[in-house]
Amino acid sequence: MKFCTVKQYFDDENNNNVTNGIATTVIPLPNKHLKIKANNKEMEQYEQELLRNVMPQELTKLILAANYLNFKEALDFFCRTVANAIQNKSVDYVRKFFGLESDFEPGEEEKLCKEFAWSFEGVDED
């Protein structure tokens, strides 16, 4: 059930959605997931390892690959990993993490800061 898309992947000649490197990470995941499903601590460790070894840009490829392969558990896991990485971090930190820049109009960003002042308080140190 989990790998119905895998056959299609190998049949497609020109498949740009999933590069080899990503497939190596995503495909072994179900086995690991099944083995340590009951053990949350090990899953956390695996998550930490993933974050250390994989650049944020690579994470997006993992998410896209898991989505293409229709692999819900891996997709949820990678999204959670991203969510945990940016939890309680400032807007600037999150921008750096995703490699994005603010493209708001000059007054617009100030307006947002004022309107949601309560959500910008108490973030972790960058």
Binding site: T60, V94, F98, E101, F116
Partner: protein, 301 residues
């Protein structure tokens, strides 16, 4: 090319949903303009999150909320709620009643407002005159055991503070078919309104009166002051049907009664209070002290 900016909307939403803290969801919408426009304007209220507690004694137009998860107090400006009293909260919205008689739902974080029919459109109001200061409302007071029913004039402040106890919602106000139910009047009567209604419709005004109301697993329950539990079918024709679910329970003197819903069922909580009376400078002062709580679980047989 930055891959993150090309992330499909549904995957961006999946990341947003994985965020636990409400603040993180708000901050995600401040990253760049395309993410701001892709994500829903405000995050959906996650039911399992610990609620913010509205603190009393707000100053001016700002209200203070205590965030029990982060152990912080947040000040939120609420100019929309002028001389207001909060009569309930649900699904991230608060119910605001004003001296003018206006009743509306207010989302403290998005500032959206949803109007409900005013206090003057309740079943017990015979007449309402905004210009008759001090006597704005002519209200029908139902007869008790030794007193017949009668009309009585009340001023807007008294009606605001004492004749509208609580308003609850059947579901999030963002859904088209939500129902608001109010516990009102001197004797705890029930009325409801649906989206778009111009007035509040009567559910129940029979004695004994109601002490609390709750929506639990899609049903509307009302707790009578003698411990009798009723279930109300609002959509029955021609008028709402109220039936007993659990019989009256021997009442402890001087108690306040509450209905509480939980995943393990419906519960009734009695707060046992002791009231002291003393005279200070010819004025009668009443002080009450909570002695204990008794919790009863509803057993379905």
């Amino acid at each position: 090319m930055n891959q993150w900016s090309l992330l499909p909307i549904e995957l961006l939403n999946l990341i947003e949903e994985s965020l636990d803290l409400y603040h993180d969801k708000v901050r995600l919408r401040c990253i760049c303009s395309s993410w701001r426009s892709c994500l829903l304007k405000m995050p959906n209220h996650k039911q399992h999150q610990l609620p913010w507690l509205l603190l009393p004694h707000s100053v001016g137009t700002s209200c203070a909320f205590f965030d029990s998860l982060e152990k912080k107090v947040h000040k939120v400006e609420l100019p929309e709620a002028g001389e207001k009293v909060f009569k309930g909260s649900a699904y991230g919205w608060v119910v605001v009643a004003e001296k003018s008689g206006a009743i509306f739902l207010l989302n403290p974080l998005t500032r959206n407002k949803i109007k409900l029919p005013p206090r003057s459109k309740f079943p017990d109001v015979r007449k309402y005159r905004a210009d008759k200061v001090g006597y704005e409302y002519l209200i029908w007071i139902y007869g008790a055991v030794l007193a017949p029913g009668r009309y009585q004039s009340h001023d807007a402040t008294h009606v605001l503070n004492h004749l509208l106890r609580k308003v609850i919602l059947s579901s999030s106000p963002t859904s088209m078919d939500f129902v608001a139910v109010a516990l009102y009047g001197e004797y705890g009567h029930l009325a409801y309104c649906k989206r778009g209604d111009k007035k509040w419709s009567l559910i129940d005004n029979k004695f004994p009166t109601c002490d609390d109301i709750i929506f639990h697993e899609g049903q509307l329950y009302a707790l009578k002051c003698n411990g009798q539990l009723m279930v109300c079918e609002i959509d029955s024709c021609p008028k709402p049907i109220v039936t007993e679910v659990a019989p009256a329970y021997p009442r402890i003197q001087g108690g306040d009664m509450y209905l509480v819903g939980s995943s393990s069922g419906l519960m009734m909580v009695r707060r046992c209070i002791h009231v002291d009376r003393c005279s200070i400078s010819n004025k009668e002062i009443y002080t009450s002290k909570t002695l204990s709580f008794m919790i009863f679980k509803l057993e379905w047989k």
